[in-house]
């Protein structure tokens, strides 16, 4: 039974890249195009890990994480934040919103999979 990972990113390019990297590593991937959509997808299925972008329309990464963390159903799911921004302010925001970990773009597949393995025992 392979693990399911939800990727939330408004960029099709990023979604494709994440999907390829994660599927190659044997994970099953479900996708959402922004925070709002991500919450909808979560209604249908609970993944074992969530990877989300920060800058997205409708509901951004922080808002999305906050919503997930408020929901008892998704307690304890590791959420990784994927972004090109690396400022300390954004890191703190992510942390306070409830992110588990942080990956900076551009990433290479090996690094991505490594982090995923580490947060998802």
């Amino acid at each position: 039974m392979s693990m399911t990972i939800l990727t939330v990113d408004d960029s099709r390019t990023m979604r494709d890249m994440l999907k390829v990297a994660l599927m190659d590593a044997g994970y099953r991937v479900i996708q959402a195009v922004d925070g709002q959509h991500g919450l909808e997808v979560l209604e249908q299925e609970t993944p074992q890990v969530i990877i989300t972008d920060i800058n997205m329309p409708k509901l951004d990464g922080f808002g999305f994480i906050e919503n997930v963390r408020r929901d008892e159903r998704y307690l304890g799911i590791p959420i990784l934040v994927l972004t090109t921004e690396s400022s300390p302010e954004k890191k703190n925001l992510a942390r306070r919103a409830g992110a588990t970990g942080w990956i900076v773009k551009p990433f290479d597949s090996a690094k991505l999979v490594d982090v995923v393995r580490r947060v998802a025992a």
């Binding site: 390019t13 390829v20 195009v33 922004d34 709002q36 919503n67 008892e72 304890g76 409830g98 942080w102």
Partner: protein
Amino acid sequence: MDTMAAIRETFFQECEEQLGELEVGLNAMDEGVADSETVNAVFRAVHSIKGGAGAFKLDRLVRFAHTFETSLDLIRSGQLSPSTTAVRAMLRSADLLADLVKASRSDHPVDEARVDAQIAELKALSEDVKEAPASANAAGGEAEDLDFQPVLLQLDDFGASEPEATRYTIKLIPAPELYRKGNETVRLLRELSRMGEFRVECDTQHVPPLDVIDPEGAYFAWRVELKTAEDEAAIQELFEFVIDDCELEIVVDRAGAVAASEASPPAAAAPIAPATAAPIAPAEEAPVFAQPTAFTSADPIESVAAATAVEPDKAKIEAAKPEMAATPATIRVDLERVDRLINLVGELVINQAMLSQRVLEAGLARSSSVAAGLGALEQLTREIQEGVMAIRAQPVKPLFQRMSRIVRELTDATGKVVRLRTEGEATEVDRTVIERLADPLTHMIRNAVDHGVERPEVREAAGKPAQGEVKLSAAHRSGRIVIEVSDDGAGINRQRVREIAIKKELIAPDAQLTDGEIDNLLFMPGFSTAQSISNISGRGVGMDVVKRSIQALGGRITIASRPGHGSIFSMSLPLTLAVLDGMVVKVADQTLVVPLTAIVETLRPKVGDVHALGVNARVISDRGGFAPLIDVGQELGYRRDAGDPVGSVVLIVETEVSTRCALVVDAIHDQRQVVIKSLEANYRQVPGIAAATILGDGRVALILDIDTFVARTNRSGVGQEPLLAAVG
């Protein structure tokens, strides 16, 4: 296709979309009608492009996108005000970004000087900002220090200890928040264990009895003894993400010997007393804990939460959830497949029509169940056809946005101040039509700015605002798409047009023309009012080329103008090129189709209308003048002699060769939409014939290409030789 190549393609397609969004948003900012969401969207567009560019190592693109993004971030955060200067700089940057994307796609060189100049302009803007920009990190080199600690897969190795190894005592008391954020002590401990020799103890003394446990509480305290070559910073980095959610203490043990197995409590000011837990085995891959019983009695928060009846405050969550609007789902399809599908549907339509015909001919009553079934089939087929056509339909928005940029460049080049307004950008048309519209539209926009709109001084003198406006609109109207290019300039100078037309011998010096007819002289070949051929509108590329392009698409173009107020060019185009509105006519024993867009009028001539001109030619009275009569049957070789126009039907058609011609046919069957079948693909190209279609009776009907058909005949109506002598 190779996956990475496919994703790269996706990236560039996405760039186009992002650039479009960028354009729209910046224009809104330029007009002062942008809200914070618009500014955010603009920022995100550049951010997105930068992200993808980084993934594909398009360094030039990343470098500029980064500077651009930084400036946009300043505007977004309110540190830089979106003044006209700033927004114009952003617009120029957007144009450069678009060019860089294009250059990166085809790996072409880039004008470095231009990039540097633009970067300088953006940086100059940020210098006005008092506070230092928030996110000023360089594009590269961000990654390493913020990533997770690289895994140190150190095999446990008691014998030969690293000479540099240091001993640490780490105390960790997680707070409930740590778990809520998806972190797990087990993972943290596992990471620590990978750093070297590792021993861990768990203090469970604060775990309350099961009946009072809060499943979301945190009651454990951990003490780790680690011997590692890593420095303290590395250890702290491991806890970077949980640092707010726990009590953490890392003590470097300089004193040397650390007790092995049975741990005796160090006299630390630690808030906890380590439990006298069972000895812990040295670090392995699997997490190791104290008494299994102590651990399992208070399982990971999740399962306990599941076991107890913790009711999530559903109402609160529902209220907190933002409004769920439907997200449009799309898939990408190979264009070839779509074309094949459209072809097949065309066949379906033809076959269905044939079936209907045969059933009727077989004498089945209209009220019979078969006829009723056929009616339903016809309805369904039509709906399928419309649905399939719609697949290839795309909004005109990207095309309009290209025009926006052209207007901007022209504004800079001509010194005129012009604004482009667009309407109906969401209107959809078949993508082939859009592609072929680009050039004519560009030309008309250029004309509008170059010739239509006056210089600011002239406008002001005339009591108009200095800024001129060009409006570009698209709308669906009676099954076609109507696109209008209008300007609020000086309108057509009819006097001058007339003079030029006379000089170029396009009209007789004493010709009487209505205003509308003078305006339409612009469409005549070889006409150009530019005193000096400006680079902008091109050398001698006149409106005649535009008109021909539009007509080649099956469209029509007209012009209306009011002196002092401006001009409107109005184009009507078919929604798709796969079907055609045609008039089905009978010529000799053949059935032909004449495109409806070419037909201006139909009439039944009376004796007095027809006049002889020379030996073989005839003309018909038409709007105060004469139009040459062309006997279609004779031209096509269906019969040797021309029939008598009186008693036949005459179609007045308009071409760009001669203004109006009269085609003589025997009768009109009806007017209908026919599916276009290519003659070239199935036979060969035949001059005068545009394509073919299959009628309900199964026979092939040729579709006339009016322009070439008429061109092959002299104006006097006598053909060179029958076009289709050999073709039955």
